[in-house]
């Protein structure tokens, strides 16, 4: 007690603070180690074929649930391609839609909007970024799904697919639209921050050469922040990959791979992603060993993709330092 009362020496303080700080590193290590260890049985049984197509994922999951504590090797059989495809599809479409929307809005906020509107826009972007995903999902499932199901899905589309899948309205299109709206604010924020750090002299130089505002934005400002835009896209992609709740609510929660060959109906077909599957089968974590391990395998794949994307985002931003433009 007496020793604790005395003023701390710098050395002791440093050791204590350092030890506490390094615990975050430990957490990250544990996270990778634990998820990988739990996922191992699935990979051991399936090899790299795990990622490939083959069979019905629905049947495979039912098999896993049917076996209890001591699953035979056959219960581990899983081919995850349908949901990997679903994840890639939803993420790619959402990012493709969000990119122009975000860059244009960022340009609008920083360069074009009148001051009053700019302040409003910043609040709007902050608000959109902080709307919880469950509220997006709620609006999707209670407002958009009935609307799409009643007005956009035609009877002929419904009958032509009635033997393969039921079109309720919940599906790809709504998930993509909501996901776009969810990741756009992040991209806008990152792009705005980068745009704000472009030296004013560059814009003035362009203006002095007689080009108009939009031309200056295209030729100078946007070009200077290109790495930041790429970084923002990469981070938004990571966010989109990991979105679970909203997609689990609005995407129909059926193991089905939307088929582009179906025409417009493609947009309304249900879909599942890696993250939403984990949410849908959350009771299975710690339950039947085969399903448990498979779910951890999904998580491991997501974890790996997100790490790669974070690293890519960091690497992409490096050239910005050359111009002392922060991104």
């Amino acid at each position: 007690m007496q020793r604790l009362r005395k003023p701390w020496s710098d050395h002791r303080a440093e050791l204590l603070l350092g030890a506490v700080s390094l615990s975050t590193g430990l957490v990250v290590l544990f996270m990778i180690a634990f998820v990988a260890a739990r996922a191992w049985p699935t990979f051991a049984h399936n090899g790299l074929g795990w990622l490939g197509p083959g069979g019905s994922l629905k049947v495979q999951v039912e098999n896993m649930l049917a076996t209890s504590t001591k699953p035979p090797a056959s219960a581990y059989h899983v081919r995850a391609w349908p949901i990997v495809y679903g994840t890639l599809l939803i993420t790619a479409l959402a990012v493709l839609l969000a990119l122009p929307l975000a860059v244009l809005s960022a340009v609008f906020i920083v360069e074009l909007a009148p001051t009053a509107l700019r302040r409003t826009m910043i609040r709007v972007v902050r608000l959109l970024a902080s709307v919880p995903s469950v509220i997006w999902g709620l609006l999707g499932i209670l407002v958009l799904v009935p609307f799409v199901g009643n007005h956009l899905v035609t009877a002929s589309e419904r009958t032509s697919l009635q033997n393969t899948v039921q079109l309720t309205g919940a599906g790809l299109a709504i998930a993509v639209v909501l996901l776009t709206l969810m990741i756009t604010p992040i991209m806008v924020a990152l792009t705005c921050d980068a745009l704000a750090t472009v030296p004013p002299a560059w814009r003035e130089g362009a203006a002095a050469l007689g080009v108009n505002r939009v031309r200056a934005i295209r030729a100078v400002t946007l070009r200077a922040v290109r790495p930041a835009i790429v970084a923002a896209t990469v981070l938004a992609t990571a966010r989109a990959l990991g979105e679970a709740i909203m997609i689990s609510m609005v995407s129909g929660s059926v193991f089905f791979s939307p088929r582009p060959g179906d025409g417009v109906a493609f947009l309304f077909e249900p879909v599942r992603t890696l993250a939403s599957t984990i949410v849908d089968f959350r009771e299975g974590l710690g339950g039947a060993p085969a399903l448990n391990s498979t779910l951890y395998a999904f998580a491991l794949l997501l974890l790996f993709s997100v790490f790669v994307l974070s690293l890519a985002g960091y690497l992409v931003k490096l050239p910005l330092r050359k111009y002392q433009v922060r991104g």
């Binding site: 506490v20 590193g25 700019r118 608000l127 710690g286 922060r326």
Partner: protein, 341 residues
């Protein structure tokens, strides 16, 4: 993470630098492609405004329709019809409890890390390497989706030696689902914004303040306690606010790690407060999820009402961040904390 949280708030300065429109740059002389982009930018900006307005107005309308004060003070009841399914007192308490645990764990960790990195992180290869490890692991945590953090939480809290933290199941296994488990994982969600806000605040403290303290014979740790921590208090407040808004908005961790129980269900036996921590429960977000058609309950009116309360909290926290930043900028003239988002 660092990128959008470390920037000074937009609109404060530096943005009024776009060249003013002078004579001769009337839009009539513009090329079509330029006019098109100008139009597209306005459309995109106004579209975002329209979406935000639509969400707020629609939720407000639903709130007026379905939100009653009695809902906030009554327990949820298991019931088939919406009229009899009670209110959401327990989810509200659950959200408060999770927030409390999350911030309680995250704040010391974040503040210590920020202090260590800014005040002790220079000099020496090892130190620089270690600080880089800490910074990048916090950045990794920031980029990890909440569902993965939840899955990790299950993996940890189902370990046998952590069975004290959650309820056991019939087979002698550990469920790994409890307020303690969910709260601990919530601290990982709140950690990055708290850390970034504190670090940026510390970095913005002018060096001469430290030097003055050293000249008076204070040690580094005394300087931290007497000079630095008081001056970054608004930044810490911003970080805590951001952390709270992350926690109350999170659904995945609650769904996976809190066990779907409508009411707070304390662990049987044990001390009166600790058994709640060991038990299952729900939060506002999981209540919304469970009462929407996505969950089992078909009580969309209750889901709307709870979602309105949730949105109100989020809006208030947003306002709080703004208020702290403005207050700080006015009182010290220093860089406002928080960044864009």
């Amino acid at each position: 993470m660092s990128s959008f949280a470390s920037e000074p708030a937009l609109g404060a300065s530096g943005l009024s630098s776009a060249p003013r429109r002078g004579r001769g740059s009337s839009m009539r002389t513009w090329r079509w492609s330029d006019r098109l982009i100008w139009l597209a930018a306005w459309t995109a900006g106004l579209l975002l405004c329209a979406v935000a307005a639509a969400i707020v107005l629609y939720m407000g309308y639903r709130g007026v329709q379905y939100l009653r004060p009695s809902l906030l003070f009554s327990h949820p009841q298991p019931s088939g019809n919406q009229a009899g399914s009670g209110g959401f007192l327990d989810p509200l308490l659950g959200t408060a409890l999770l927030t409390f645990i999350g911030i309680l764990l995250a704040a010391p960790l974040a503040i210590c890390s920020a202090l260590w990195i800014v005040e002790y992180g220079h000099g020496g290869r090892t130190r620089q390497a270690l600080t880089r490890i800490v910074e990048s692991s916090i950045e990794i945590v920031a980029g990890t989706p909440d569902i993965l953090i939840a899955v990790f939480g299950v993996a940890i809290f189902q370990l046998h030696f952590l069975r004290f933290a959650s309820e056991g199941s019939e087979g002698g296994g550990v469920t790994g689902r409890s307020f303690l488990a969910a709260g601990a994982m919530m601290s990982l969600i709140a950690l990055p914004p708290l850390f970034v806000a504190t670090r940026d605040g510390l970095q913005a403290v002018p060096t001469h303040m430290r030097e003055a303290a050293f000249a008076l014979g204070k040690t580094r740790i005394a300087t931290i306690r007497r000079v630095l921590l008081p001056s970054v208090r608004p930044n810490i407040a911003t970080g805590v606010t951001l952390g709270i808004s992350r926690i109350i908005a999170d659904t995945a961790i609650v769904l996976v790690l809190l066990g779907d129980e409508l009411r707070l269900s304390p662990h049987p036996g044990g001390l009166p407060v600790l058994n709640v921590l060991r038990g299952a429960g729900s939060s506002l977000t999981s209540y919304v999820y469970d009462n929407s058609p996505a969950g089992e309950g078909g009580a969309p009116q209750k889901a709307y009402a709870a979602a309105v309360v949730l949105l109100l909290f989020v809006l208030l926290l947003n306002l709080a961040v703004e208020w702290i930043a403005r207050h700080q900028a006015r009182s010290s003239g220093s860089v406002a904390a928080g960044g864009f988002v």
